[in-house]
């Protein structure tokens, strides 16, 4: 069996960035390519502060946001990013799954591509759906979150936020706490962080830690798994609680939100154990008082809102590299 091309392992220090045609997974990107994307985003960040928030980089290109899951944050972020680059944007939200709707994913996508689109941004509840699309379409495909697989642009914007706040990624201690099993944010974060040399500490009850998660680490960083949040917070530079999906409450994963907040909620007392100047991140939307306490969410340590601002710049960088053609901005 020859599995599809999946570059893994560490990349030599001085490679030129290789973006590939699609952005499906951070696993496919070398540390240098990730850094190049972050550098491009640095340049785009300033555009959002201008009076005229628009550059002509993608004029004449058509970007389709194809969302099979409800999303406000990610979709609007992509939409704004595309518009600030002067692309034409089409938003398609398919409420029902393709099965219910009676049309397959590939048929839907082919139909849209027949309108001569350049880039398709897809959000889908099924892991691997962006890959299926990439195999079907001529357009560039950008993964905006697929099941519990990956959310590469979220991973990039988290890296971007950390880099801007701390000046580096390498050597930082990053705590990710929450339902790792069902989190694509945790997976993309873990991959990106370890590629850039961070030490990642995953914390959750064992019911929320998937088998073999530590093998996702690609180095030079590393991953440890633990169940004790207070132990993990000692000396932490970055703390990233994941959104607790309250609908899973009472299912075998955890007893309820009260106990969860007691064991795994980020609050001010707990933060005392973290390193000087530690930041708290959250992919949003937050459950106040559950995974993150009110006062922490609104503190100076919180980067929750700047993550949103950064998200637009990072997605501009991604759209730029994955719409204008390979290496266009390298």
């Amino acid at each position: 069996m020859s599995p599809s091309a999946t570059p893994t392992g560490s990349t030599p220090e001085t490679t030129t960035p290789r973006f590939g045609k699609h952005l499906l997974s951070l696993r496919d990107l070398s540390a240098d390519t990730i850094t190049a994307l972050l550098n491009t985003a640095d340049g785009f960040l300033e555009i959002g502060t201008r009076t005229v928030k628009k550059v002509p980089a993608l004029r004449g290109k058509t970007v389709v946001n194809l969302f099979f899951e409800p999303s406000t944050r990610t979709r609007t972020s992509f939409e704004l990013a595309a518009k600030r680059l002067s692309a034409d944007v089409l938003n398609i939200t398919v409420a029902a799954s393709s099965v219910v709707k009676g049309e397959t994913l590939t048929d839907t996508a082919r139909t849209i591509e027949a309108m001569n689109t350049d880039t398709v941004v897809i959000r889908h509840a099924a892991a691997g759906a962006p890959q299926l699309l990439a195999e079907t379409l001529n357009s560039h495909v950008i993964n905006a979150g697929d099941g519990a697989h990956e959310h590469p642009t979220q991973g990039l914007l988290d890296l971007f936020t950390i880099r801007r706040a701390k000046g580096r990624i390498e050597g930082l201690n990053v705590v990710i706490v929450g339902d790792i099993t069902h989190s694509r944010v945790a997976r993309s974060g873990l991959i990106g962080l370890t590629k850039l040399g961070a030490h990642v500490r995953l914390v959750a009850p064992p019911t929320m830690i998937p088998s073999g998660i530590e093998k996702l680490s690609e180095g030079p960083g590393d991953v440890t798994v633990g169940y004790d949040l207070d132990a993990a917070l000692k000396g932490a530079d970055v703390i990233m609680p994941l959104r607790l999906q309250l609908e899973r409450q009472g299912a075998p994963l955890f007893p309820g939100k009260r106990e969860y907040a007691t064991l795994y909620g980020i609050n001010r007392e707990r933060m005392a154990a973290a390193a000087e100047g530690a930041i708290v991140m959250h992919p949003g939307p937050i459950n106040r008082g559950v995974e993150i306490a009110h006062d922490v969410a609104d503190s100076d340590q919180s980067t929750i809102l700047s993550q949103v601002t950064h998200g637009v710049a990072v997605r501009m960088a991604v759209l730029y590299h994955y719409s204008a053609g390979q290496g266009a901005a390298a």
């Binding site: 999946t6 397959t104 590939t106 892991a127 998937p210």
Partner: protein, 438 residues
């Protein structure tokens, strides 16, 4: 009276204890002489097949295939499966009962055997359902099914969750003299899983099925076989834990046997990388350590039966998101070559590999086929172990998402398959596929 001589070949007939160059004489569809090379008289009226360079095997018995007919002809038909089976040297197919209507009555059994007889490419032995309509509430009319000649009863794809119900089914089956085939699966643990649970499923973000789902079920099956004394065939098994339990039970004399399929002996869960839906099968593909344990179990006879586990679907059903695709691959035409690949890798000798497809199922299911001894029906296949072939769309029923081996080159080429001495592959009306040496 038609007469056929097969000369110059190497006969491997484990049930008869033969693994040597032999010439065969076939008269009126039955083997009448197994002679030393060159010892058969030259008969003017006889057709002669020169099998020089080939191995002559009893036609393979495939004890686990989903033929989908009646009811799901868009996935597969008896005729289509028969054609793929003949290409793979298989002459006998056990058809699993999860058709629509379910094969829980003599009427449905006879319908399937009629379809098979009409197609004429393979002998189909319908396996009866353990319970009526596979609803696991009322026992099927096992006695009637036994009289109509079903070789076994099975629970394929709808495990009987109540251990009491399963126990009664085994007891009753024992009374009518039928062995039971069970596909091990604990539904609570397999839940919404779509592949093996482990580092690969975590990486791919796909819900996993832990090995324990299979192993709990194997454990229960062994306990109930022991309780009831019913011959129980657990298949396919795929994990090291299942292997350990079956080996232990067989050593203690429990009436349990086990089978698996060639793809579980070659592919690991890493094959799911890239989300190819052809690799979505139940039980799921397992990690390397399980594959190694399974290979050892095949070699030492703990796994005494190989089957294709042919579970085909229409291409459009497989060309979807991985977690929405149905489980199963098209496996009839590739099963023998994949088995021979194990011989090449030194996993087990050729005669043992052939045993798993002939004498093994013959013994487990008390069948008369699976041998070419004098008096046996001349269902045979000629294989050129040294010749390669490419897996074409045609070999997997025209499917693109049917097999992970599409377009790949496998060795061990079927040169001819015959039922009762009559060639069914290469298909008589399809000479274009026949470029063999025989």
């Amino acid at each position: 009276m038609t007469t056929l001589r097969i000369i110059g070949g190497h006969l491997v007939d484990p049930a008869a204890g033969v693994d040597a160059p032999k010439d065969l004489l076939i008269e009126d569809g039955r083997v009448t002489q197994v002679a030393e090379p060159g010892a058969l008289p030259a008969l003017n009226h006889a057709e002669t097949i020169d099998a020089t360079g080939c191995h002559v095997l009893p036609g393979l018995i495939d004890t686990h295939a989903h033929l989908r007919e009646p009811g799901q002809e868009h996935k597969e038909t008896v005729a289509g499966a028969g054609r793929q089976a003949a290409m793979g040297g298989i002459t006998h197919l056990f058809s699993m009962p999860n058709t629509d209507p379910v094969c829980d009555s003599v009427a449905v059994c006879e319908h399937i055997t009629t379809l098979a007889a009409r197609a004429g490419t393979v002998r189909v032995l319908p396996v009866g359902a353990l319970t009526r309509n596979m609803e696991n509430k009322v026992l099927s009319e096992m006695g009637e099914l036994a009289r109509s000649g079903v070789p076994a009863l099975a629970d394929a794809w709808t495990p009987i969750e109540s251990s009491q119900m399963f126990r009664r089914a085994l007891e009753y089956a024992k009374g009518v003299g039928l062995p039971v085939i069970t596909v091990p699966q604990d539904l609570g643990l397999s839940a919404d899983g779509v592949m093996h649970e482990g580092a690969v499923s975590t990486r791919l973000g796909l819900p996993g099925i832990p090995a324990a789902s299979e192993e709990i079920s194997v454990s229960r099956a062994i306990a109930l076989a022991e309780l009831t004394g019913c011959p129980l065939h657990v298949a396919p098994i795929t994990t090291a834990g299942s292997v350990r339990m079956v080996r232990n039970a067989r050593n203690r004399g429990v009436t349990v046997s086990a089978g698996t399929a060639p793809h579980y002996l070659h592919l690991t869960d890493e094959a799911v990388e890239g989300y190819p839906t052809a690799c979505k099968v139940y039980p799921p593909l397992r990690p390397r350590a399980d594959v190694e344990a399974l290979r050892a179990a095949l070699a030492d006879g703990t796994v005494s039966v190989l089957s294709s586990c042919h579970a085909p679907h229409a291409d459009y059903e497989k060309a979807v998101e991985f977690n929405q695709a149905p489980f199963g691959m098209a496996a009839l035409s590739t099963a023998l070559s994949l088995t021979l690949a194990l011989v090449k890798e030194g996993v087990l000798p050729l005669s043992d590999a052939v045993t798993r497809w002939t004498a093994g199922p013959r013994q487990v299911f008390d069948l008369s086929c699976g041998t070419l001894a004098v008096g046996a029906v001349a269902d045979f296949t000629l294989v050129d172990l040294a010749a390669d072939w490419q897996v074409t769309h045609d070999a997997v029923g025209g499917r693109t998402h049917g097999t992970p081996w599409l377009h790949q080159t496998l060795s061990g080429r079927v040169i001819r398959t015959a039922l009762g001495g009559t060639t069914v592959y290469p298909h008589p009306t399809d000479a274009s596929t026949y470029k063999g040496a025989a």
